[in-house]
Amino acid sequence: MKTEELLINMGPVHPSTHGVLRFKLTMDGEIIKKCEIVMGYLHRGTEKLGEMKTYMQFIPYTDRLDYISAFPNNYAYVKAVEELAGIEVPLRAEYIRVLTLELNRIVNHLVMLGSLLLDLGASTMIMYGFRERENALQLFEMLCGARMTFNYIKPGGVREDLPDGFIPKLNEFIKDMEKRIDDYEQLISGNEIFMGRMKNIGVMSAEDAINYGMSGPSLRGHGVNYDIRKIEPYSVYPDLDFKACVRHECDSFARYMVRIDEMRESLHILRQVVDAMPPAKPVSQAKYGIAPMTGAPTAVSTYFPRIFTPPVGEVYSRIEAPKGELGFYIVSDGSIKPYRIKIRSPSFCNLTAIPKMVEGLMIPDLIAAFGTIDVVLGDVDR
């Protein structure tokens, strides 16, 4: 019997592609022979805009790169600027930054679980996930006034100190979240249909995974113990006690379990941060004689003007974002605007592994494997 290959297009407008991403699949019956990814439907030109704005004006654009977890994006850019210009940060500001980073990691994993299960056909987890997310977003709103695009971390510290009722509400959130994670495990992990759809799907060896540039929780599901918080520690992570979560089975189920483990580790880190937070030191304004609105030193930020010129040079700095390794490469020529900004986004590099991972699978398996890689189109296309 003569058969032919079929070209199927999973187009930009599709409910399961987490945004506007296009797959061109060459199929032999039901099995995928070749998968080609076409992207660029959300390319907004952020890198070119970075050359037209000053250093402080670029921070809101970093919020919109990975719009589900915006604090790590802010922080990666600000860390690069601080390394370039040699700016110091007070200790309390570092603790507040770690608090927001870990809280955002939990929110990101909740959304990832919700949308993964929505693609597989179950609609309960996304309802639970977004309900917890609302509690976390109310905490963020107390802190900086916005729910998704924060613009809170700036070079020299953070914008404002913690408001009064923040720590008790955060403690409530942590206690609540513990029980919920056990609920989710009971709901999902033992489910036969879920295990049947995720075990031994999307298998890739560890050397291949590193060669294809994967990083973050997707790589730790392959047994590779690479966590940037342990290898190139930054901020106050050397003083905190936590471990990198690793699983060894190299399939989609392992990548999913790593995220459940990471949510528990983040709660552990949050408890330590709340205990170890240094008190707010009063700072004498008389020394500088400038009103707080223009960037005078406070307990959570060193003196930092809105327009500044860092020295000539280049820097590349990376952090462990919830999706992988996020890095900013900044070239400065001594003027008030950067000369070149390059963004190394984790979703773009994780996506290079999909065409290899998916050969020989069927389309529903493609959706399951793709959901565990955790891709956001704002990061891929920038």
Binding site: R44, I126, R133
Partner: protein, 197 residues
């Protein structure tokens, strides 16, 4: 008499007394109303049916999922349990535009995505409405000076309601949906004579 020198306070206006039956009918004003209605190509009898149609349309708008960027996450948050948009009749977000009658354009419309958004709009059957959400879809937003962003989705499709914000809060989404419902309620012939209160 010279018109400029007439003293208008001294002129008495008297009403003509109705003499014939036609004059009496004219006085009641019924004929002029009916003639005016026939002129406007609408019949006064259909106003109640219009009210029923409009109520049916606004109570069960089915949106099509066309979330492009960050505003799509707020769309998901509005549709979830905390701020529930299903109480307005938008229970299901249809995946296919042929079964929907409302399109939320949420997120930045880039030049490469623009013909696809236009095609989605053309695939929806009449009557259809478009809500443009967020500042990127209204006018280009913070990416206004970029080389690959379309400066507002109303350059390619007609828009009914604009919701500002970056991203707009779920409360703002719901306010925008209520504005659209008011607009649908005021469509049709009954509204022109103030009968759809």
């Amino acid at each position: 008499m010279d018109p400029l020198t007439i003293d208008t306070t001294k002129i008495k206006m008297t009403k003509k007394q109705p003499v014939t039956a036609l004059d009496k009918l004219n006085d009641t004003g019924l004929i002029s109303t009916v003639l005016a209605a026939r002129e406007r190509e609408g019949l006064i009898l259909f106003s109640t049916i219009d009210q029923v149609f409009n109520w049916a349309r606004l109570s069960s708008l089915w949106p099509v999922t066309s979330g492009l960027a960050c505003c799509a996450i707020e769309m998901m948050a509005t549709a979830m349990a905390h701020h529930d948009v299903a109480r307005f009749g938008m229970e299901i977000f249809r995946a296919s535009p042929r079964q929907a009658d409302l399109m939320f354009v949420a997120g930045t419309v880039t030049k490469r995505m623009a013909p696809r958004v236009k095609k989605l709009y053309e695939m929806m059957p009449d009557p259809k409405w478009v809500i443009s959400v967020g500042s990127c879809a209204n006018t280009g937003g913070p990416y206004h000076e970029s080389y690959s962003v379309l400066k507002g989705v109303d350059m390619i499709i007609p828009v009914d309601v604009y919701i500002p914000g970056c991203p707009p809060r779920p409360e703002a989404w719901i306010y925008g949906i209520i504005q659209l419902r008011e607009k649908i309620k005021n469509q049709g012939y009954g509204a022109k004579w103030g009968l759809n209160k």
